[in-house]
Amino acid sequence: MYTFLIAVGALLLLSLVWMVYRIQTLVSVVKGSDRKIASGSNKVNAILFLVFLFGSGALMFWYSIKEFDNYQMPVASEHGVITDELFWITMAVTGIVFLITHVLLFIFPYKYQYKEGRKAAFYPDNHKLELIWTAVPGVVMAGLVISGWMAWSDITAPAPEKAHVVEIMGYQFAWDVRYPGKDNVLGDYDYRLINASNSHGIDFTDKNSIDDFPSPRVVIPKGEPVLFKIRARDVLHSVFAPHMRLKMDAVPGMPTRFWFVPTKTTAEMRAELKNPEFEYEIACTEICGRGHFSMKKIIEVVEPAEYQKWLSEQKSFLQQNPSLAEGLKTEKKEIAGIN
């Protein structure tokens, strides 16, 4: 029934549009406006450009100001403050260009709309003007690039020696987290060792792997450098921690990395945002299949002392699941503390 009514409605609407169209065509034929170079519509279009300029301009300013706190995500890493600053500097520069060019682009149509008897200016070139507007963007771009390049070099520089290492492995459709344990060195892995009980493919014959431990969350200390070692097990993924301004693809066969210094604990951020449920999140930003939109991991930033306490409480893979140690020599089992 509904479909029928909708169909009838649509049909009526279409015939109405059709009639209006025919009538306006006939009227314009009678008035002879279709023979003029520029009909009355020329003026209407010219005015509409102005209306669009002011209407959409007002809408943009209103929404940008009203929503600022919503789209401006709080930042919680040292380099994030710098990239945010670069972002807003670029916004200011491009914003000015955006406004000036658009004001001109929409005012000119109004101001120079067709008038019978007037002749347009024959103005084919002006080398001086052209040189200026080639050079000025050139210089401005150079400034932006150099500041961006300096920030980029710092961000991608090798991580400090003392950085806390966390391994994040992406797979369809979740992240697995591994810590290197007391030695701060991750054990070797081989994707052929992966099975139901060893999802990371850790090679437990490597002594560095003995104290490695898993964690359901990424727990990191505030104010100390943290190094994410990132890898993928099946297809491309991308680690995106928006509050940390951190993003790096996870590539099968090619480990990647990203280091940063978190500046606010989860608790501090909760207080700042007055949101007791707030959590730092990791999402996936490289299309990876059906569950791409659901690859979530929580990051918990804590005070360094609390972090040390948490570290000492963790149980290694081997302690949690002694069957992984099958086939290992007894001495290694002793080191691992499972005999």
Partner: protein, 630 residues
């Protein structure tokens, strides 16, 4: 066929008079299907492009429904989508990815590459440089039919049980190589690759033809410095295509090997679906380099023709010469060269060496300079003009606006430090939909409205054109401008829903707004479709030169036959932008009017050329006289 004899552009070819008699022997198949007439091939590309644009647009409304109204019951779509609507009436997440992938593939390749370049390069190159047809009409025909076959294969893939390719339009392996990872990487991906191979062949056949034609078949007097900017743009676009599409072919071929023959170009250390694969040593990043070596130039393949069309339409309807013709050509050349050395800015966070990122950041931001020059030159062309708002002109002004808005956000994304946060968020979606998608689409629309009278001998309805423009122009901004906010807020691309994360659990209202705007904008395109087909048969009869334009195509008869000019091809004596020249009676002087006929408006350096011109004309006349004696 008559084409063989008339393909010579040489003005002294004998007996053009009889060639028109041959025209009437064309039957339906040689006239409309396997035609070698560049004008008909252009129309074939245009109509096919429009068909694909509707499909591509329809796909986008489907996924916008999901994003704007995640709780909506889509049971009504079951008759079309079948099993892709689950029991609860929701869109399947895998199919969502397939929709996004197909939308991208179709719009980028079928609509904005074939539909735009294919249409206007074919239509305008011979007409504007004064040639009887393309250098090879046969290759040109093949170019269309390869595109057609490519389209048929892609279309079939839409109806596979496992769905079409679903790994994003960039089809990065390993996702696109492993059927276990996503069902679309099975048969759907195979068809995608086959389709692209045909498409690349089509593109190369077309491109080689365009380049050859522009270099060899220009009419007398049509030096490169007198080419309309449209031709410059089509020419350079074809050059870019010839140099970059083969690299996509290489990338696709290696992917075929990895998928079907057990090689490991892109695959390494993969454990998927409970099984460790034997592949080691490959690199997914290698594919990304190869893909973007085409992918980035592809952006300019899509954009340059639109900029060329805009230059022509804006100059004509401002009744002013395009400002800084030379600067426009140099910036086109600059963009062409630079387009090949910026590709890795798509890969700042792909895990490639960060030093490489620094280099590509410098190169990328350089490309902003020629782009800025183009914008300033368009603005100065409008300044102190006498603007006539034909629908073509409106769309051209719209293009400039999108080019500015989308171009400026490129400065953010080209800066690798800022890109860390913005990469693969909706900010990117907003950026490229404005600067490449909408700008190129508007260029295409401007071209259709402007050259429709030459294509079909009739006018499109201007009022419907205005309504179409304003709905689309406002609509496009309503769709893509809000995406900047969503992107700055960190919303990742290609997400089926936002509710899993706290940081994306807002802006449901804005997403709804975007979806409604998208659907309205899509619906508005039917005004154009109606106007197009109705005017083709019932539109007002066009005059020979409805826009009082200078270029050569307007010197042909209302319905040019195969061969374009019934008599000799006109000779060109001046550049194409002599609008509102001081002293001239009319506000335009077409290219084929000799300087010697316009002493009242000649500039001093042109007046010096008059003598030379008269000498050449005399020699010509003698030659013709001698010829006729024999």
């Amino acid at each position: 066929m008559a084409t063989a004899t008339v393909a010579h552009h040489d003005t002294e070819v004998h007996g053009h008079q009889d060639h028109h008699d041959h025209e009437h022997h064309d039957n339906f198949i040689t006239k409309y299907l396997f035609t070698t007439d560049h004008k008909m091939i252009a129309k074939q590309f245009l109509v096919t492009g429009m068909f694909w644009a509707l499909i591509g647009g329809l796909l986008s409304t489907l996924f916008r429904l999901q994003l704007g109204f995640p709780d909506m019951n889509l049971e009504v779509l079951r008759p079309i989508l079948g099993g892709w609507i689950d029991e609860a009436g929701k869109l399947d997440p895998t199919f969502y990815l397939a929709l996004v992938t197909m939308h991208g593939t179709i719009m980028v390749f079928f609509v904005l590459t074939a539909g735009l370049s294919g249409t206007f390069s074919n239509f305008l190159i011979p007409l504007q440089i004064g040639a009887r047809d393309m250098a090879s009409g046969f290759m040109n025909m093949l170019s269309y039919w390869f595109f057609f076959v490519s389209g048929v294969i892609m279309f079939i893939s839409l109806f596979l049980k496992t769905g079409p390719a679903g790994g994003g339009w960039v089809v990065y392996p390993p996702l696109s190589a492993l059927e276990q990872a996503i069902p679309g990487s099975g048969m759907g991906m195979t068809l995608w690759l086959i389709s692209m191979v045909f498409f690349i062949a089509s593109s190369l056949l077309g491109g080689i033809n365009y380049v050859t034609t522009v270099i060899n078949l220009r009419t007398k007097g049509m030096s490169f410095s007198r080419l309309p900017l449209t031709i410059w743009a089509f020419f350079l676009t074809a050059v870019i295509g010839i140099l970059s599409f083969p690299v996509l072919f290489a990338a696709a071929l290696l992917l075929v090997f990895d998928r079907s023959f057990g090689t490991s170009f892109y695959l390494a250390d993969i454990y998927v679906a409970g099984e460790a694969l034997p592949n080691t040593g490959g690199s997914p990043v290698l594919y990304q380099h190869l893909f973007w070596f085409l992918g980035h130039p592809e952006v300019y393949i899509v954009l340059l023709p639109a900029l060329g069309i805009t230059s022509e339409v804006i100059a004509t309807n401002s009744r002013k010469p395009i400002f800084g013709y030379k600067a426009m050509v140099i910036s086109l050349l600059g963009i062409t060269v630079l387009s090949f050395i910026v590709w890795a800015h798509h890969m700042f966070v792909s895990g490639m060496n960060p030093f490489l990122g620094s280099i590509f950041m410098f190169l990328t931001l350089i490309i902003a300079v020629p782009s800025a020059v183009k914008v300033f030159n368009y603005l100065t062309t409008l300044w102190r003009g006498n603007l006539i708002f034909t629908p073509g002109m409106l769309f051209s002004i719209g293009l400039v606006s999108f080019f500015i808005s989308g171009g400026l956000t490129g400065i953010f994304l080209g800066n690798s430090a800022i890109d860390i946060q913005l990469h693969d968020t909706y900010f990117v979606v907003a950026h490229f939909h404005l600067v490449m998608g909408s700008a190129s689409f508007f260029g295409m629309m401007a071209g259709v409205y402007h050259w429709f009278p030459k294509m079909f001998g009739r006018m499109m309805d201007a009022k419907l054109g205005y309504i179409h423009f304003w709905l689309t122009f406002v609509g496009v901004y309503m769709v893509f401008f809000p995406m900047h906010y969503i992107g700055i807020a960190g919303f990742p691309r290609r997400y089926y829903s936002w509710t899993n994360f706290e940081f994306t659990n807002l802006y449901t209202d804005l997403n709804m707004f975007v979806s409604v705007a998208a659907i309205i904008t899509f619906a508005a395109q039917f005004i154009f479709i109606f106007n197009f087909f109705y005017s083709m048969y019932r539109g007002r009869k066009a005059s020979l030169n409805p826009w009082n334009s200078n270029t050569l195509e307007w010197t042909t008869p209302l319905h040019p036959g195969h061969g374009n000019w019934p008599g000799e091809i006109p000779t060109v004596y001046r550049w194409p932008y002599d609008y509102s020249k001081p002293g001239a009676a009319e506000d335009f002087i077409p290219q084929h009017i000799p300087l010697s006929q316009t002493p009242e408006s000649n500039l001093p350096h042109e007046q010096e050329l008059v003598k030379l011109e008269l000498e050449i004309m005399k020699e010509e006349a003698d030659l013709v006289a001698n010829e006729s004696k024999h």
